[in-house]
């Protein structure tokens, strides 16, 4: 019986210790470190092929997915228990104010005042400096200013427990995937077998609504490329004034924004419409839809033979005996440097890939037009566009945000704010005189115990016996 009690006490002590947290943090750092040097999410075979080292150890310990190994979860859970037990343990002590702390400043003064007069003078000081009198024992006055820092420490540690709860909710219930939407086609969520993340307890049934892309738009900014040299010496020449920085004549179309006009359909009727862009997603019934990208397929024709190709790809065109690259497909709205806005006539830039790997730009091919290449005509017939969205169902994220913000705010208050506690002990000396012992405690960057000490000096100056 006593042994069991003993073990229980020791386990409690271990979990309520700050040393334990430091050890657990150190263990976590080891995991993080491994996670940064081994490519996470990579396939072990590809890893070995790419010349990865320590293949056996990597396989055995799951280094390629270290953050989902039982060992990592174990350390995280131990830290959570440590944090919770520690917070609870300190809460008990803080409530009773059972801390023995050494003061930042401690002084003894002999005052030419009676006990009563000293007390009155100190009360006056407490009031004037806006301290709160928090206790008055037989011979001791205790006053405080600001929020007791240990409450703040406790509060934000408890907030961290809530953040952990948010992570766990995410881990258990999250659902995540990609959606590729074609204009005008109502698409059920989870219908496409895209790479997907699913928490252990995530709802099995797919949502009862569909999503439809009504329109997809792109916007570009026209600008020119900066002619900034690559080598250090030329850069030094700029510094010395021997060379200037200039812009090239080469025009560049920088993406400004992409928009998907979306419609949520429930039983065939519209429940919600929104145009989303990157950083402005659509939210519906716990699901959030994010604009992550888009893809265009180009339809080209050569000698009556039609072929389709995705932008940015290369294709060996037998009729020409050449490999062409179709890059930089542009359509949509163009914002020009002079402030004017115009619609782009859709075009793709054609490049020829030579056998030695060099690329030669052949020029721009506009929609509905043809380009003569070696006497043959290559025509840009049309294009098809898809918008790529990611979706996520995550009941933990709300809790995480609120708790995270709370932790940040309270931690800032604790670290950057100020808290003071003054403890005065008055001992009667012979002849109606008193000995005053002052202990000043303070915490937080704004706190300055020397300043309070100086203020107290000024207040008591006239009565101090040297």
């Amino acid at each position: 019986m006593r042994r069991a009690e003993n073990i229980k006490r020791r386990v409690y002590r271990w979990f309520s210790s700050i040393k334990t947290s430091v050890y657990l943090f150190a263990l976590l750092v080891v995991f993080y470190f491994i996670g940064t040097i081994f490519p996470q999410g990579a396939d072990i075979e590809r890893y070995a092929e790419a010349g990865g080292r320590f293949v056996e150890a990597v396989r055995l310990f799951g280094f390629l997915d270290i953050f989902h190994t039982p060992l990592f979860y174990l350390v995280a859970v131990l830290l959570l228990i440590n944090l919770s037990v520690c917070t609870w343990d300190r809460f008990q002590r803080v409530r009773k104010r059972a801390w023995r702390e050494s003061p930042d400043v401690e002084r003894r003064l002999s005052l030419a005042l009676s006990y009563r007069e000293t007390e009155e003078l100190l009360e006056e000081f407490i009031k004037k400096q806006r301290f709160r009198l928090i206790s008055r024992d037989e011979d001791t006055l205790t006053a405080e200013k600001g929020i007791y820092y240990r409450y703040l420490t406790l509060l934000y540690h408890a907030g961290i427990v809530l953040c952990f709860a948010g992570f766990f909710l995410t881990g258990l219930f999250v659902k995540e995937g990609l959606l590729i939407l074609k204009q005008g086609e109502p698409t059920p969520i989870e219908s496409q077998m895209m790479p997907e993340v699913r928490g252990w307890l995530a709802p099995e049934e797919p949502p009862q609504f569909k999503i439809q892309l009504d329109e997809f738009r792109t916007e570009y900014i026209l600008s020119r490329k900066l002619n900034y040299p690559e080598d250090g010496l030329s850069r030094l020449a700029i510094a010395l004034g021997w060379q200037d920085i200039t812009y090239t004549e080469e025009e560049r179309f920088y993406p400004k924004d992409w928009f998907s006009k979306l419609r949520i359909l429930v039983n065939g009727s519209t429940a919600l419409e929104k145009t989303i862009e990157v950083n402005d997603p659509l939210r519906f019934e716990g699901y959030t839809f994010y604009q992550v990208g888009f893809e265009e397929k180009l339809k080209l024709k050569i000698n009556d033979k039609v072929f389709t190709i995705s932008t940015g790809r290369k294709k060996n065109i037998e009729e020409l005996g050449k490999t062409l690259i179709f890059t930089g497909f542009r359509k949509g709205t163009l914002f020009k440097p002079d402030g004017t806005v115009e619609q782009i006539r859709p075009f793709v830039t054609l490049k020829e890939l030579k056998e030695d790997g060099t690329r030669i730009t052949l020029g721009r091919l506009h929609l509905g037009e043809s380009m003569e290449i070696d006497g043959k005509s290559l025509r840009f017939e049309g294009f098809e566009e898809t918008s790529i969205l990611s979706y996520r169902y995550d009941p933990g994220v709300g809790l995480l945000w609120y708790a995270g913000f709370f932790v940040f705010a309270v931690m800032s208050l604790r670290c950057l704010g100020r808290w003071y506690m003054l403890r005065f002990r008055i001992d009667e000396d012979e002849g109606g005189k008193t000995i005053l012992t002052v202990a000043i405690h303070c915490r937080g960057l704004m706190a300055d115990s020397q300043r309070v000490s100086a203020l107290l000096n000024t207040h008591l100056e006239r009565y101090v016996r040297r």
Binding site: T36, P39, F405
Partner: protein
């Protein structure tokens, strides 16, 4: 004035800006060399000169940053070139602010000005000053705050580790002397308190830096954490500084363990900056980017 306006004209403003930034980098270097000279010759009064140069450089650097804001019409933290300049600026400002009482102590000044000048030269030689229009994912309120706060916290940690390192060296030297690196034995403790105060100041900032990064990723891609090496290194840095703060309340660890953790935090911060790529290369492990999906 917008990015487009600037791009539509010649690049003379940019040329001026780049030349001024070279001057700033060189002046930081001069301050570093003078601090080193003061250390070697042990003439602690020579501490005045590097500080005077540092003060002047900061005025010039403020001008460069304002010029950048004027050129681009937005906050100057959006490319690595800009962030490096901001980082060295905030490091130098933080140092000048907290070193008021410690002007005689030349080592932290050497450390900080050396890092500031290295950051500037890396920006000038390794990055392009081009002010490109922001790509759609970067067009977020969160991004600006994320970068400014995270980089400012790094600056605070640089100064903190400069103080910590000086403290450790001085502590050792004071075992055999009465005075070392501009410090007397009774000054050691308050000097070290400065290092701790700086971490206490920087830690909530780094917390916000990570939190805002996650909030931004969540808004842009719907995933607040992806265990990408950069994210993970920032978490390592954060965890190491959390260890430092906790070690402060374990009496036996308050001294050497805590000091080591502060310096380790600085190393981790540099790793976050430079990324893990070279470490992967060093160990012959293919980096994540080779597998990027």
């Amino acid at each position: 004035m917008s990015v487009e306006d600037v791009l539509s004209r010649g690049a003379h403003l940019l040329t001026v800006e780049v030349r001024l930034l070279w001057a700033v980098g060189i002046l930081y270097m001069v301050a570093a060399i003078l601090s080193l000279y003061g250390l070697i010759t042990a003439t602690h009064r020579s501490g005045r000169m590097p500080h005077a140069i540092l003060g002047f450089t900061l005025i010039l650097h403020t001008g460069v940053i304002l010029l950048r804001i004027f050129e681009t019409g937005r906050a100057p933290f959006q490319t690595l070139y800009e962030s490096l300049s901001w980082f060295s600026f905030t490091s130098a400002v933080t140092y000048l602010f907290v070193s008021k009482r410690w002007r005689r102590v030349g080592l932290p000044c050497f450390f900080v000005t050396l890092i500031a000048s290295c950051a500037i030269f890396y920006a000038l030689l390794g990055r392009s000053p081009e002010a490109k229009p922001l790509s759609p994912p970067l067009q977020s309120w969160w991004f600006e705050w994320h970068v400014v706060v995270a980089f400012s916290s790094y600056a605070v940690f640089v100064v903190s580790s400069a103080f910590e390192a000086t403290y450790l060296i001085a502590k050792r030297l004071l075992k055999t002397r009465d005075y070392a690196l501009g410090l007397a034995p009774e000054e050691l403790k308050p000097f070290r308190t400065m290092a701790t105060k700086l971490v206490i100041f920087g830690f909530p900032m780094l917390t916000f830096g990570i939190f805002s990064g996650a909030a931004w990723a969540n808004e842009a891609w719907g995933r607040y954490w992806g265990w990408d090496p950069k994210e993970t290194w920032s978490l390592i840095t954060w965890t190491v500084f959390a260890m430092y703060l906790h070690a402060q309340s374990v009496p036996r660890w308050r001294e050497n363990v805590a000091s080591t953790l502060n310096l380790l935090g600085f190393v981790c911060m540099i790793m976050t900056f430079l990324g893990v790529n070279w470490l992967s290369k060093l160990l012959g492990i293919p980096s994540l980017h080779a597998y990027a999906v």
